[in-house]
């Protein structure tokens, strides 16, 4: 790939991440398809199924962050934090998986070479 195209491509992806992070919160007001289906069928706008199991370990439950009032700063920060964590986790997972493969290949090569 040409260097200039690489720059355009990464700028595009980065802009998408920033833009989406910046815009999502103000637009999130409405329920999504599944939430709307539950509320249509049950007639309860705040329908929550009962459950014996609950998980309270989420660091940012419902994408909440520092109780800030400014939805733009809030959404931008939470979007950015989420994308960095996602990047880190998948990067680490792939590195680990491929490092294992590479070391296996090196060992095989060493055995072949005697």
């Amino acid at each position: 790939m040409k260097r200039e195209n690489k720059v355009v491509l990464f700028t595009f992806i980065f802009t998408l991440i920033l833009l989406a992070a910046f815009l999502w919160m103000p637009m999130i007001a409405g329920p999504d398809g599944l939430e709307q289906v539950q509320s249509d069928i049950t007639g309860d706008d705040e329908y929550e199924p009962e459950s014996d199991f609950s998980y309270n370990g989420a660091l940012f439950p419902d994408y909440g962050f520092l109780n800030t009032e400014n939805t733009y700063i809030h959404s931008w920060l939470i979007g950015l934090i989420g994308s960095i964590i996602t990047f880190g986790l998948i990067f680490g997972l792939l590195k680990l998986t491929l490092i294992k493969r590479n070391s296996k290949e090196e060992n095989t090569q060493a055995v072949i070479e005697g």
Partner: protein, 230 residues
């Protein structure tokens, strides 16, 4: 389309977890063999991009909103098996860090967004592979014909992936003992809203793939070299 805690009963959750774990193991083994070191950065960036785009809701009808699912987008660039790992990581982070989608229901959510979406990829694959080449010798005309069919296949594939994922989700909540309403209600309702959300999915996926086709076509496997699964 993130199913929350308590909506599905264990008789649905356990088989879906088993399917997802088996499928995930096979996908990881395939990924180990097929992914190259130099692909790690772009896979990670695109996963982060899809994570953020999944948070961006777009309004569809009377206060209801939809958001990108992104499976087809990732499967086009890499393969369905790699896209499965990518979407699993996204859903894991959403469930663990943000409480979006139940932790017990994570298997069902991964199934719906990473496996039930496969017909969308196959639709894309068939349209791209089976469309006839134009009879023109002019390379520009040939290229624009190729791009036209790429974008059509992307839109249709993305639309189908949303429909099949919402169909599975509708069946799961319809047969669940924890939800007192059957599939006669849940399936049409899910398909109804997602028939509209699918248009948004198709358009967003088309714009991003179109951008790559123009500036970085090497990330989009050419006709004849499209992976079927891995």
């Amino acid at each position: 389309m993130h199913i929350g805690t308590g909506l599905l009963d264990l008789s649905i959750l356990i088989p879906l977890w088993i399917i997802v774990l088996l499928y995930g193991t096979i996908s990881l083994i395939k990924l180990k063999k097929t992914v190259k070191n130099e692909q790690i950065a772009i896979i990670s960036v695109i996963t982060a991009m899809v994570f953020t785009l999944q948070m961006l809701n777009f309004p569809i009808l009377a206060g209801t909103s939809g958001h990108l699912l992104g499976f087809l987008l990732m499967a086009i660039f890499f393969s369905p098996s790699t896209a499965f790992i990518m979407i699993s990581v996204i859903l894991l982070i959403q469930a663990l860090m943000f409480g979006d989608g139940g932790l017990l229901a994570l298997g069902a959510n991964i199934f719906n967004m990473g496996i039930a979406t496969l017909p969308g990829y196959f639709t894309y694959w068939i349209i791209r592979e089976k469309t006839a080449k134009s009879k023109s010798d002019n390379q520009d005309i040939e290229k624009s014909n190729e791009t036209k069919w790429l974008l059509i296949s992307v839109f249709v594939g993305a639309y189908v992936s949303i429909i099949t994922a919402s169909l599975c989700c509708g069946i799961e909540i319809g047969i669940s003992d924890n939800f007192d309403y059957g599939i006669r209600l849940t399936i049409p309702a899910m398909l109804g809203y997602h028939a509209l959300i699918g248009i948004g999915e198709g358009l967003i996926t088309m714009v991003i793939v179109g951008f790559f086709a123009k500036y970085a076509p090497e990330y989009i496997p050419p006709k004849g070299k499209l992976p079927i699964w891995s």
